[in-house]
Subunit: 206 residues, 2 copies
DNA sequence: GCAGAAATTTGACACAAGTCAAAAAAATAC
DNA sequence: GTATTTTTTTGACTTGTGTCAAATTTCTGC
């Protein structure tokens, strides 16, 4: 397997359209009562995953928020023997299979470590208890889901309104690290276009 | 303007894949403390809209959840002089421009009454206060957003994996009322295909 | 019921993007 | 450094879906 071009110094945050909202979440997070913050941090458990391993597989129930500390991961599903990448995670992003998590039903996605990966994990039931104990925590979780919903609505819109090369150019503008650090296979599956089409687009653009 | 084929007796709920989750929300809703329930109901204000009028327009800030009591509405945006329908609402559905609502920023969508419409509206700030006062209400709102997020993720997947006729057949199976009651123009813009393509698909299917 | 308007269907054609296959380039192992 | 494997590019061809235009059907108002 080839090594991706990525280093520790190289991790700018994803520049999504909703950075402001992310900022608001972080602000609220940092303004939590110190006691709650401590309790929250104690609830998190660090884990490491080898490159190529899976943090979640189909048929499993997603029981955790996975906060990426170091490395790159992605979530994908398989449709007709073809992988389609839903999300790509960099440090500070949260990986989750939302439908499996909220309904505690078996999901159908893979979450894969694309590099050596360090994550910090908060377990479903422990987080659930904290949410019920502290409305502020519930509020933060709600904001996370709101962000998630709006992000998906925007991504849907990209598929409805942009053709392959427009989607590529937008990706290059909004999430350049994805194009920069990941093999074309994965970029293509994230844009939902074929390898060959992506290759042709690239040769025209540059 | 033509009248849609719809009557008062004709309103089965949308059969989305997440009916179970909807049921859970309703269960929780009905199990709310009676005092809270009353306060919640008092916060709702009924409104009527004429067919063809807009409940929300671009540049406006979405300040309310709009619960449909009677009639049909839709949310759409305009891309290159072309309307793209995001969601279609039947009685019991909640119409909202989520990104505008959560960030209290001007949005870019229309919410349009497709028939004479009766809605019940809860204002942003009043709902906000109630959410902070009662964790149960916050929880319900959070579940609503979760439902919303998962629904959008599923809709995105339909666009990634299904071609035009497969999307049509899926719509026919999952949300037959949309095909049944709405003009082809709107069905096509909901499937994000051209009128002509939809027409050809229909002639092959039936 | 008839005339005009609106919605829907049908036809001809264009083009974006997929597929399959093969060549070229780049990365990895020895 | 060379050989092997993997990734990326290029070419030829096919197909789904859009566009424009015209014909047809269906509504609506009188």
């Amino acid at each position: 397997m080839r090594h991706f071009r990525t280093t520790k110094t190289d991790r700018k945050r994803k520049t999504r359209t909703m950075n402001l909202y992310i900022k608001r979440i972080k602000d609220l997070h940092s303004k939590l009562d110190p006691a709650i913050l401590t309790e929250l941090e104690e609830a998190f458990v660090d884990k490491k995953f080898a490159k190529g391993s899976y943090l979640l597989r189909p048929e499993q129930i997603c029981t955790a928020h996975l906060l990426i500390k170091e490395g790159i991961a992605r979530k994908f599903y398989i449709h007709q023997d073809r992988e389609i990448t839903i999300e790509i995670y960099f440090p500070d992003d949260v990986a989750i299979s939302l439908d499996s998590y909220i309904m505690q039903n078996p999901g159908d996605v893979f979450i894969e470590a694309l590099t050596e990966l360090e994550v910090t994990v908060i377990d479903y039931s422990r987080f659930y208890k904290m949410k019920n104990k502290y409305p502020e925590v519930m509020m933060l979780d709600k904001m996370f889901i709101e962000y998630y919903a709006v992000w998906f609505e925007q991504r849907l819109r990209a598929f409805q309104t942009l053709d392959a090369s427009q989607r590529y150019l937008k990706l290059l503008e909004k999430e350049p690290q994805i194009v920069q650090f990941l093999p074309v296979t994965i970029v293509a599956s994230y844009l939902n276009i074929s390898l060959e089409t992506l290759s042709r687009i690239r040769s025209k653009v540059s």
